[in-house]
């Protein structure tokens, strides 16, 4: 049985035809050319295929593509704005929080979801939140540090812009 699915991926309307038993990950990679999401285990253990589905972090290998009908899907391809990397992406590069890179898209999508929920996580919160993302190269310290440093950078940037705003209000 084939299914025609109308969905939104990274803000763009998308229509695709898939088999009923194909996963969202299969469709992203093989039909839509969005190969940033990786297949590590295909059993929901490694998190390399992490995407957002209606604002929830999920493993796209454990979602049927047909389930995406009418939903909002966000993948790693939607994380940078044009050539401008998301602060997490830039920090992962600067801090060398990756080696082979297979797990990196999943870590980035998961870490972004964490910082949107909790802009100031503790190290323990970062480690538990990312427990479903496996890295077999670097160990986790550089990754966890990169997430914590990004959170700190984003916080001080927010404070700076809030300070500028209130200063602007005072002068007005």
């Amino acid at each position: 049985m084939t299914v025609t699915v109308t969905t939104t991926i990274n803000g763009d309307a998308e229509e695709f035809v898939c088999e009923a038993d194909e996963t969202l990950l299969d469709v992203l990679r093989d039909h839509l050319g969005l190969t940033g999401s990786k297949e590590g285990c295909a059993t929901g253990d490694c998190g390399a295929c992490s995407v957002m589905l209606d604002g929830r972090l999920v493993c796209s290998c454990l979602v049927l593509a047909a389930e995406a009908e009418g939903r909002q899907v966000e993948t790693i391809e939607g994380m940078a704005r044009g050539r401008e990397l998301h602060p997490l992406q830039q920090k992962f590069l600067d801090a060398a929080a990756l080696q082979c890179g297979i797990c990196t898209p999943g870590f980035l999508v998961a870490a972004k979801a964490l910082l949107e929920r909790n802009p100031d996580p503790s190290e323990t919160e970062v480690r538990y939140w990312l427990a479903g993302n496996l890295c077999r190269c670097t160990g986790y310290d550089k990754i966890v540090r990169a997430v914590l440093e990004t959170a700190a950078d984003m916080k001080s940037a927010d404070m700076k812009s809030a300070g500028m705003k209130s200063a602007g209000m005072r002068s007005a």
């Binding site: 038993d21 059993t43 998190g47 929830r56 049927l64 009908e69 538990y128 479903g132």
Partner: protein, 288 residues
């Protein structure tokens, strides 16, 4: 394989009952998709129940909570009222898998997957939860402990699905808790799990208790003798020793890669005791 996503329970039941081949219910999919992809099952029909409004909500009912069968673990964890009333149940659900799995996995699915090691089930059994089963013959309520028939098998008939779980009103002086033993801190399957729900009177004496054990038998065990060891006591050391002994005696584990039968019997007692202490402290908090 056919995929259907009906918008009513009646339509879901009709689809499932009308399929002559293997028909499976899809809620969170964190077990089903793995089974599907590995070729362990080859269903002719998958019925996605997430488009059915009543499976997607947590509702207050008779002072308790009705949790739709497609409500994810993350959604349960975010529900302040549910978490305050049944912390043990919510903690048990939140132990299942990663953040990604929590975004999809459901308590009803954990129940219907019928793994002896399912984390949410001992907590639900201890809490006295019931499952609403809908099928071609109508709707019925079943105690949660009667849903699993054995590893991977349920007592549900053809065309029947769990539509929701019901947690009763939390009584005065009542507390619940769940602990599991795993050899690491996260992302693992219970070697032993223990759920305890108990009620204390104004003097701190236990008037009612339910103790349930996971991963130490083909189904979750409602350990009545272990609960009886607590009733009438203030959960003093002697009562906790008696609870641990009765829990170990109730366990019927097997040897497997996650632990030996002897180890599991011992851990069942130790965990039941630790869980009861948490439930007691919560009950005291509730009584205050």
């Amino acid at each position: 394989m056919r995929y259907e996503a009906p918008e009513t329970l009646d339509a879901a039941v009709a689809l499932l009952a009308g399929e002559s081949g293997l028909a499976k219910v899809l809620a969170g999919g964190t077990d089903l998709l793995v089974q599907l992809r590995s070729g362990m099952i080859e269903p002719a029909l998958v019925v996605d129940i997430k488009r059915i409004a009543e499976t997607r909500r947590i509702q207050e009912e008779s002072g308790g909570f009705r949790i739709g069968a497609a409500v994810s673990g993350a959604e349960m964890g975010e529900h302040a009222g549910l978490k305050a009333a049944w912390p043990g149940v919510v903690e048990a659900v939140e132990l299942i898998g990663s953040t990604q799995v929590q975004g999809r996995a459901t308590a009803a699915g954990n129940l219907c997957n019928a793994s002896p090691a399912a984390d949410s089930v001992p907590a639900l059994v201890a809490a006295g939860a019931t499952a609403r089963i809908v099928g071609p013959g109508g709707s019925r309520e079943l105690p949660v402990e009667a849903v699993a028939a054995g590893p991977g098998r349920t007592s549900l008939g053809r065309g029947e699905i769990v539509a929701s779980l019901f947690l009763p009103a939390r009584g005065a002086g009542q507390g619940d808790a769940y602990l599991r033993f795993i050899p690491r801190t996260e992302m693992d399957i219970a070697v032993v799990g223990a759920g305890v729900c108990l009620t204390l009177d104004g003097d701190g004496r236990c008037t009612r208790a339910r103790v349930a054990l996971g991963a130490v038998g083909p189904r979750v065990i409602l350990a009545e003798a272990a609960a009886a060891a607590l009733v009438g006591t203030t959960l003093d050391e002697a009562a906790l020793d008696a609870l641990a002994e009765a829990a170990s005696a109730a366990a019927t584990p097997i040897d497997d890669k996650r632990g030996t039968a002897d180890f599991r019997r011992r851990v069942a007692g130790v965990l039941a005791r630790r869980t009861a202490v948490i439930a007691r402290d919560r009950a005291k908090g509730a009584a205050a």
